[in-house]
Amino acid sequence: MVMFKAAFVREWRLLARQKADWLNPLMFFLIVLTLFPLGIGAKPNLLAEIAPGIIWIAALLSVLLGAERLFKDDFRQGVLEQLVAAEEPMLAYVLAKIVSSWCSTALPLLLISPLIALLLGLDTAAWLAVLLTLLLGTPLLNLLAALGAALTLSADKGGILLALLILPLYIPLLIFASAAVDQASLGLDYSGQLAVLSAMLCLALALVPLAVLKALKLNVG
């Protein structure tokens, strides 16, 4: 717990100093969302119909964008080596990393979700569904992105490889989250989708940090 707190505070300090780390994915998200109406056409019906898919694709791309840098600096500066050699459990560091990355990349998306709903012409029920699916789904995005970042840490061309590895794993999330928003905009019940999302999140929370730890250790060597 001490380790977790120390790592978490350190992450926040770093984020406060490097604002680009959390501002850029957010801007990317907004710009991608703007591109869709420009590319497809701004008819309100059409926009409301494709909004769930757009929001979720933009969200997972923006989380992916921030993921590459997750462990890069710590790897280059030798922090990871020290952690592997240290007696303190490294899992706490991994968890702190994932939680703080969620706070920096996904929490802003939640906060601006009313704005998104406004831009894409979603009603309040659909916005609530967007908010709930983002709340349950984005931790999963961050977990898997952390896994991808850890796996490709010492790879030569990390960035694009990370996307190739992780995007197929995002497919179930994309399906259930956008289906929930879809149902909500039709005025139907979507608690089933939320339950599946929660189940996937629980499974990932239990397993992914261990895989991340393993991947970090094998990259440090």
Binding site: L147, L151, T152, S154, A155, D156, K157, G158, L161, L164, L165, L167, P168, L169, I171, P172, I175, F176, A179, V196, M200, L207, A211, K214, A215, L218, N219, G221
Partner: protein, 249 residues
């Protein structure tokens, strides 16, 4: 059991075993492949509904089955590599991945070629088709990751870890895709298939499935042999082997 298996994991022994098995497996694979395809393509009756075009089943179904079989064997090898740190199992992951990817491509291609005359389209977003496509992406991820590191050993370990993550995810992906499809549209187009298959068509199909399995095993042996040589090239036994080969040649 592990004590009994352990000596076989020694690269040198494994190399010899693979070399011993490869000619037998390859001969059996070629023989059954010829038997299955010739029987299936030339000597089975035509389907009453689909005519002759159904015959592609003798390539499509075996490759689809073994594309998944290859992924499971790759994942088992990856698990062994991660849990017991068996190096040979790591190399097996890298050896199987491209073969499985090619099987997946064959299944997708023959499926598209079969779909065109039957469904009138090369591709539909059907659950099975989509799962197979995602399987291909997972294979490509494993292959790309294993080649991405300057250090070969790290690449092998990382791709083994990814293969295990993928196999945990595969059922989730499969069922979510199935659910997604049934929500959007019923699988009306895919219900063309007859509930059961006639024995005259079943036998060549089973032989073809066996043939593709043998083929997969043979190619895996061959690729594993190469991987062992590449990874152990500085070991004395490989040097001895190459020296004696050079003397003979």
């Amino acid at each position: 059991m592990f004590k009994w298996l352990d000596p076989y994991a020694k690269p040198e022994t494994l190399y010899r075993i693979c070399g011993l098995w490869f000619p037998w497996l390859m001969t059996a694979a070629v023989a059954t492949l010829l038997l299955g395809t010739v029987w299936g393509l030339a000597f089975t009756p035509a389907d009453y509904q689909q005519g002759d075009s159904y015959r592609i089943i003798h390539i499509h179904v075996p490759s689809a089955i073994w594309s998944m079989g290859a992924y499971s064997s790759m994942a088992i090898a990856a698990l062994i590599a991660l849990v017991w740190q068996v190096k040979a199992a790591q190399w097996a992951v890298g050896a199987i991945a491209p073969i499985g990817a090619v099987f997946t491509v064959i299944a997708l291609f023959t499926g598209a070629a079969w779909g065109k005359p039957m469904w009138g389209t090369w591709w539909v977003w059907d659950a099975r088709l989509t799962s197979e496509l995602i399987l291909l992406f997972l294979y490509l991820g494993v292959i790309a990751l294993s080649g991405a590191f300057a250090d070969r050993q790290t690449g092998a370990k990382a791709s083994a870890l990814l293969a295990v993550v993928g196999v945990v995810n595969l059922p989730i992906i499969h069922f979510s895709v199935e659910w997604w499809n049934t929500l959007h549209q019923g699988a009306t187009i895919t219900k063309f298939a007859k509930p059961s298959i006639d024995a005259s068509m079943l036998w060549p199909l089973l032989i073809s499935i066996l043939a593709f399995g043998l083929w997969l095993a043979a190619l895996t042996c061959l690729r594993l042999k190469t991987a062992i040589l590449q990874n152990e090239q500085h070991r004395p036994w490989v040097r001895q082997l190459t020296a004696s080969a050079a003397k003979e040649g």
